[in-house]
Symmetry: C2
Subunit: 337 residues, 2 copies
């Protein structure tokens, strides 16, 4: 059945049913919820701590292609990028509202798959989907807004502007697998089964680093961002916001082993500028970074340091100090590439 046959209100009823389990009273979000989907606004009992809000759009043939990303994964990823932004502040996600635009001839079963992917991730992190909006559009477009909180009363959080000269630059997990997964799927490349599976998983099912963001904040980190545009581009955001420069030892960058297997010499470039890894990139003094490497349940790698630089550059060099030139920059909308 097409959504044009079901109509807007029929569609809203169906998606509300899929999202209902996210409003379970087993989560803090669900317990405080007063009104979920179906009124002019959603409502919940607030608390006096720091509130967070972030929004990201996920537009067909701009942010994703249905040839590469199936409907279920479109829902998962559209929510994941928002949760990752909350992680990058050191916060916990609580509520999501979903604005969904669809062509008339979209299959209802595809929309349901999208919502199932989204609610799958929401349930994993205790996020209640409490409202939204559906409308007609020439292409599929998802806009998700996520509300979160920071669980401390000192108004501390992870910001792009919190880096200091002499801070170490570190990153969680491994880099490059998401963009390598995209290349593999787009160009129909085939590697060994393990590499195929790892790259596909990294691209289609990113896991926001919520627990790690909370840990960074608890350990005293002040500056962080999530790796969405690409390591170098995102570190550039920290540099500009903190009015500093950064030096990266490219030999220290934790390139995902599957990317090395599949892409050889190009692996480092994918790790530096590929984007969509949704790892946390952060800075802190040596003591802070030590506490994190000892406590975190994921790999944490020091890849460089923050330096004074009036031009806020990210300088890349190998272990011997030879400058490393990156072929391309990070992702930027509207720019001819």
């Amino acid at each position: 059945m097409k959504v044009s046959e079901l109509g807007e209100f029929g569609l809203i009823e169906l998606v509300a049913e899929i999202a209902a389990p996210t409003q379970t009273r087993k989560t803090p979000a669900g317990r405080n919820l007063i009104i979920g989907i179906g009124d002019d606004a959603a409502a919940w009992r607030g608390d006096a701590g720091v509130q967070l809000v972030t929004v990201d759009s996920f537009i067909q043939d701009v942010h994703f292609s249905l040839d590469i990303t199936p409907w279920w994964e479109v829902g998962w990823k559209a929510l994941a990028v928002n949760l990752s932004d909350i992680a990058a502040m050191g916060g916990l996600p609580r509520y999501a509202v979903v604005s969904l635009a669809l062509p008339d001839d979209t299959e209802v079963s595809d929309v349901l798959a999208l919502y199932q992917g989204m609610t799958g991730l929401a349930q994993e992190f205790g996020v209640a989907i409490v409202g939204g909006d559906t409308s007609r559009s020439p292409q599929v477009a998802l806009n998700i807004t996520v509300l979160g909180i920071i669980q401390n009363h000192a108004e501390n959080m992870l910001t792009r502007s919190g880096a200091k000269v002499g801070d170490k630059v570190a990153v969680t997990g491994h880099l490059g697998a998401a963009s390598a997964g995209w290349e593999m799927l787009a160009k129909k490349l085939h590697f060994d089964a393990g590499t195929n599976a790892r790259l596909k998983e990294a691209f289609l099912h990113p896991h926001p680093r919520i627990a790690e963001g909370k840990l960074l904040l608890e350990c005293g980190v002040k500056a962080a961002i999530d790796v969405s545009d690409g390591l170098v581009s995102d570190l550039g955001h920290i540099c500009r916001a903190s009015r500093l420069g950064a030096r990266i030892d490219v030999d220290a960058v934790p390139v995902d082993p599957a990317v090395r297997t599949g892409f050889g010499e190009k692996a480092l470039e994918l790790a530096l500028s590929g984007g969509e890894d949704y790892e946390l990139l952060f800075t802190g003094d040596a003591g802070v970074i030590d506490r994190i490497t000892q406590t975190a349940e994921c790999p944490v790698t020091v890849i460089g340091d923050m330096v004074a630089d009036a031009e806020n550059r990210v300088a890349l060099a190998d272990r011997e100090g030879n400058p490393f030139k990156l072929p391309s920059g990070g992702w930027e909308h509207f720019r001819q590439r």
Copy 2:
């Protein structure tokens, strides 16, 4: 200059500058704001009252046409529809995040006009624009999420499900002028100068009924919705959510005088199903309604009552009791009309 020449980050800087005055410390929203535009998420000091969130999309050639609605007004209207949803809960709007998708060849000056329209309305209601997202897209699409609060501690609010049998049905202001304005602009009709001005103003510059929503809540109203899809369609939402029916005296409906002047016999139809008036439609017992008509600074008109009806119908009749048949229904996405 086109946005493709300026690039995403240049554009974000420009719109952040336009939105900056909305973050003034003269408003409660601005005073509590910790981080505005430019980080992974916006952050503010919360309070323990009831929190509200609503989202609406505003998509070119679906919700608006640039032939009829200029850029400045696109910004104004996209925010107004969200503020109206907060009004319909009895809440006060506080923060907005704006997701903006644009074609590459959009003129930067047009985007600035859009943002100026939006910030104009935001400043009128003390709303801080604290973040957002920009991306490339085949057509202009705005997605605005508004956060609000309810200023009482009893968790009372205006909902669609709060109507009771015997409640009077009432509406603020006059109806039909927005859709009449759309017809006038789309079909290039001309009336006398006063009628032209009133209809154009109603369509292009709707004023959300924030003060009135707060008053309704204070006076004891339990059920309300804003008139966005059309009076009959929106009353249908209250009927279904409250599991009741409604009877409307079409002779009592406050048709905007300019609509009568411009559209004669068609005026009542525009008032009943035109939509986009953003007036508040609500129910309450006679005493509650009396208190409101005596206190409100805008017209308030009783147009019918809520009745028991298992099919949750909205029945229309004239003063003599003759049924009134409406040629068309309210707005619904995906439905062939």
